[in-house]
Amino acid sequence: MDSKTEDDLLLHWSGEADSKLSAEIEALLEKDPAAQRYLDELDQLNVLRDELADLPVMNSSRSFALEAVTARKVTRFPLPWIAAAAAAAAAVIAVGTKSWLHEGTSQVEEVVVKEKESSNEPATRAKLSKRLFSTRPQDPALERISIARDRARKLRTELNHLPNS
């Protein structure tokens, strides 16, 4: 059998021969046992392939397709994540800065109140306390206690000024 016939048999076996070549091969197979044997040997390769397909090392349970698509999604869309993280960080920084500025202003207000108090001598401790309390929000209960304490102090002062009976 020449190499041209072998090539034709390979193409016929592979299903790639056109109708004309297929007809020629069919005619050849009827009269040439060597050609038929060649084709049978090629069919044996398919049996070999099917057997090897069961070999554990020839198969993997992993879904590489899914892994590749998932990995691509992660690497393809990092910008929205980065943008979201940056926005969150910016928000935290903004809130922190605002809070810090607010605290700073309160401290300044407090200092100013103290300075004013020191320049307006003589002042009572009650006024000072009241002003100090007025610069920052207070718990109503604490404020009531403070007012009561001031009243008690005034009463004590007035009592001290009363003539001894």
Binding site: S3, E6, D7, L10, L11, S14, G15, E16, E41, L42, L45, N46, L48, R49, E51, L52, A53, D54, L55, P56, V57, M58, N59, S60, R62, S63, F64, A65, L66, E67, A68, V69, T70, A71, R72, K73
Partner: protein, 185 residues
């Protein structure tokens, strides 16, 4: 679903499921082809991973006139060749002992022994193919495991179809005594 439709769904609509279906269709064949080239499980997995990620990246540039399967196999082949070059690893079949282990239960149970004998036979067949020259084994694997027609094999390897047929013929001729020798050992 048709390959071109899946490609369109992935490229136009960003449909990840379509890409999974598309690549999943050829994973088994590609894995078995690459196995025949590398004969090493870890290398094989690395090659498949790289092949799929490169295919996904290149898919928007894929042209309809090509056959997707042979296009994918060309990427897989290049990846396998790259791994062979990079790691300078000798292509040797994994030893049966490594694959099967030495389970004492297998020696005692007849059914398990049959399974083991069948596996040993398959290992012998695999070893016989591994002894073929690289060029012939490649064509054989693309035809058998990849189920690619010779015309597309010529496109994958970038050689004339006459050369593909000649290699296939030589592989078939050489394989016969190798199989007999391995199975009789």
């Amino acid at each position: 679903m048709d390959d071109s439709l899946l490609i369109r769904k992935f490229c136009s609509d960003g449909d990840g499921d379509a890409a999974v279906e598309l690549l999943g269709k050829y994973q088994r064949a590609l894995y078995q082809f690459i196995w025949q080239m590398l004969h090493h499980s870890q290398d094989c997995e690395d090659a498949i991973q790289e092949t799929f990620s490169k295919a996904l990246l290149a898919l928007p540039r894929y042209r309809e006139e090509n056959h997707f399967k042979s296009w994918l196999f060309r990427i897989g082949r290049n990846e396998a060749i790259e791994i062979i070059r990079r790691r300078r690893r000798t292509v040797v079949a994994e030893a049966p002992e490594e694959c099967l282990g030495t389970d004492p239960l297998i020696d005692r149970q007849p059914a398990a022994r049959e399974v083991m004998e069948q596996r040993e036979r398959l290992q012998s067949l695999d070893r016989a193919i591994a002894q073929l020259p690289d060029a012939e084994r490649e064509v054989l694997a693309l035809r058998l495991q990849g189920d690619l027609p010779f015309k597309e094999i010529a496109e994958v390897i970038n050689i004339p179809i006459g050369t593909v047929l000649a290699r296939m013929h030589r592989a078939k001729k050489r394989l016969k005594p190798l199989l007999e020798s391995e199975l009789n050992e």
